[in-house]
């Protein structure tokens, strides 16, 4: 039986190979054939040992598949469970602005990704709904029963959903 570390390594290796679901890269109706939404930033959760490496992996997969320039700055940002500062300081104004632009048909919303505890995603998902965004990817990283420390990480992508044109 693999230990927890090996298990996560396996998961990490696997996730490096598995493509992100097509819907994550679905073109929006407004921006048909223009571009995949760019990734705004990737969130990791400092409460969890393996969050950062999994967040890096998620970002690499995005860059590889979306052909968003690897040179482009896609920052990683840390949270420690509490998303208040991220929401109040950045996301609420950004998403409000994006909503206005999208209603004008100008550009697809930026995507937000992360590997965090489920509580972080719980908050961000509900806040995203109000901005017309949805969770398009949700990958749970399981671990062996009884492993210490307890971790229940989830990798996710929040972006504009595809709607029939």
């Amino acid at each position: 039986m693999t230990n927890r570390r090996e298990f996560l390594q396996l998961g990490l290796t696997a996730s490096l190979c598995i493509p992100l679901p097509a819907q994550v890269f679905a073109f929006t109706a407004n921006a048909a054939a223009q571009s995949v939404p760019a990734l705004y930033k990737v969130i990791h959760d400092t409460r969890y040992l393996h969050s950062t490496e999994l967040a890096h992996s998620l970002r690499d997969r995005w860059i590889r598949q979306s052909r968003q320039s690897a040179l482009a700055e896609i920052p990683l940002q840390a949270v420690t469970g509490n998303v208040t500062a991220l929401w109040y300081g950045e996301l609420q104004p950004l998403w409000l602005k994006q909503q206005v632009l999208q209603q004008q048909g100008q550009q697809p919303a930026l995507a937000l990704a992360g590997t965090t505890g489920s509580d972080v995603l719980f908050c961000l998902e509900r806040l995203a709904w109000d901005a017309g965004l949805r969770v398009l990817l949700r990958e749970e990283h399981v671990q062996e029963a009884g492993a210490q420390p307890q971790e229940a990480l989830v990798s996710w992508v929040i972006a504009a959903p595809t709607r029939a044109a």
């Binding site: 505890g117 719980f122 908050c123 509900r126």
Partner: protein, 554 residues
């Protein structure tokens, strides 16, 4: 598409066409993926047939659009369930009490109509969240504070109508008490303004709440008599300073004097902020079954041993935190007065905590011990459910049992014993067990929290425990101040004086104001006439185990 109960498919489809004409296609949500967003994430019936789910959802942008939608619902007798932002998780969220109801999502009605700095009030629509109003005040540099619950993503109106509370000072921390004036759309589609709002050209709608004649605002809180589309709130002028400190006493029986003096200070206005009891000894008891047993039995010998343990381990038995807001000279005098008032208790200790001078930047406020106490909205409370070594299974939400008890030491000790026995007898574990808090001015509220999971059997057990707690608490004269939609019938039935005379009066009013019974059927136990018999709740005294009378006729 799911259909509302008692409405023909043909009528409903016609009504949906009319909804689309009234507010636009874009804001009529009929697809499953969209309607699913209105499920209650904290539902204790998640995934069961009994789970309360809507048929479709509508998102109007103005009171006029609400009027149009309500008129259509009234014409076709379609049950409609208004939610402000639908984020009162733990109390039902955006899911209706009656499955198949049409959710009226008021989130797009998010205008801050007025904030008056000199007279310290705001007039807002239901979609305005605590974050929204806080940001507005910050950006305009107004010298005002809001009072927010945790979390702060909910609606001011929704929280106040559900009798939610916050953490600053009176009268702002009791959110319904802090409101002044409403605009309400009735089931007929008619708009009513309460208080001074009924006087055309009034300039005091948000300053004099009584108006002229009977005061009706209470009818629209914890009820289903109308759709509130505007509401005024009094705001706290930004204080100059804040200080907090705790009073700690060493003996089991010191609780009586600690609470008695606290109550006197609260009633006399020296203490305006919320407070509560904590027991540092509870951590020792949690690790030591012998101490726990002695605490629950509490005979003379047990108390002697508990007191000795407290002293030997330098652990206060009880403590209370006191908070003061205002000019430094006044809050310093209040703290000094507090020390004097408790100084006669042998061994009492005073611990100074935080002392802050304002204004502070938002970033600096976020670094304080608890930003919620300083009127800063936060989402930090959601970390409590995260999976961790402390909470190895994690949770998908929580449910709070919160009976109101008298503000005295005897009631605190008795309620601890009585409720602990229920929990022990039913093999229950709580995710939090909060000692009494003074969310409201003259009482304590106890908070017992239960995990909500995706395990159906575990949730069923939790519901049974919850109902038993309601029953046992009612036997002792302790009623819930607020509850999840799943237990509204149980709690309403507990207020049973004179053969449920109060509930009967509420039903009479419901029948008069909303004769077709379209608005929020079953909310707070008030069922419309045509559903009353079908949904007839079993009297609390006859319950004890699971029953599913909470409004689901699916």
């Amino acid at each position: 598409m799911r259909y509302p109960p008692g409405v023909s498919q043909e009528d409903f489809e016609q009504a949906v066409q009319e909804f689309r004409s009234a507010i636009g296609d874009e804001w009529v949500f009929t697809e499953e993926a969209d309607v699913d967003l209105y499920r209650d994430a904290y539902s204790p019936m998640w995934g069961e047939e009994e789970e309360k789910v809507p048929s479709i959802a509508l998102a109007p942008q103005s009171a006029e659009e609400v009027q149009a939608l309500v008129r259509i619902c009234n014409q076709y007798r379609i049950p409609v369930y208004p939610v402000s932002t639908g984020r009162n998780l733990g109390y039902g969220g955006s899911a209706p009490v009656l499955t198949g109801s049409v959710v009226l999502d008021l989130k797009r009605m998010n205008r801050i109509i007025e904030v008056n700095e000199d007279n310290a009030y705001a007039l807002v629509e239901p979609g305005v969240s605590y974050f929204d109003l806080y940001r507005y005040i910050q950006e305009k540099g107004l010298k005002l504070w809001i009072d927010c619950p945790d979390p702060g993503w909910g609606s001011l109106i929704g929280n106040a109508l559900d009798h939610g509370c916050g953490y600053t000072t009176n009268p702002y921390r009791d959110h319904f008490e802090a409101h002044c004036g409403m605009e309400v759309v009735l089931a007929s589609g008619e708009v009513v303004r309460t208080g001074m709002g009924a006087l055309p050209n009034s300039e005091t709608w948000q300053q004099f709440r009584w108006g002229f004649g009977p005061w009706l605002d209470g009818l629209f809180a914890q009820s289903n008599f109308g759709v509130v589309t505007k509401m005024g709130f009094w705001l706290l002028p930004a204080p100059d300073a804040y200080r907090s400190g705790s009073v700690q006493v060493m003996g089991y029986n010191d609780i009586h004097e600690l609470v008695k003096v606290t109550a006197k200070m609260m009633y006399s206005g020296v203490l305006n902020a919320g407070t509560g009891l904590q027991s540092p000894m509870q951590f020792a008891m949690a690790r030591n079954p012998d101490l726990q047993e002695r605490y629950e039995r509490a005979n003379e010998e047990d108390i002697r041993i508990l007191d000795e343990h407290a002293v030997a381990n330098n652990t206060p038995f009880w403590s209370s935190q006191f908070k003061f807001y205002g000019p430094p000279a006044i809050i310093d005098a209040s703290w000094e007065y507090t020390r004097q008032q408790f100084s006669h208790i042998p061994g009492v200790r005073f611990v100074e905590q935080e002392y802050l001078h304002f204004p502070m930047t938002h970033e600096a406020l976020m670094e304080t011990q608890d930003e919620n106490h300083l009127g800063v909205p936060s989402l930090s409370v959601f970390q409590l459910g995260a999976r961790s070594n402390f909470n190895p299974t994690g949770a998908n939400g929580h449910l709070g049992f919160s009976p109101v008890i008298p503000m005295n030491g005897t009631a605190v000790l008795q309620s601890q014993k009585v409720l602990a026995k229920v929990l022990r007898d039913m093999g229950a574990t709580t995710v939090f067990n909060v000692f009494p808090q003074s969310y409201h001015q003259r009482t304590f509220v106890i908070l017992l929290g239960f995990s909500i999971t995706r395990d159906i059997e575990a949730n069923r057990k939790t519901r049974a425990i919850y109902r038993e707690l309601v029953r046992v608490a009612a036997e002792h004269g302790w009623g819930e101040y607020r509850t999840h939609t799943a237990f509204m019938d149980d709690c309403a039935q507990a207020y049973s004086f004179n053969d449920n005379a109060l509930l009967k009066l509420q039903q009479t009013l419901k029948d008069a104001i909303d004769p077709n019974g379209i608005i929020s059927a079953g909310r707070y136990g008030i069922w419309p006439k045509h559903l009353r018999e079908e949904q007839a709740p079993v009297p609390v005294a006859a319950q004890g185990n699971e029953n599913t009378n909470g409004g689901n006729n699916a």
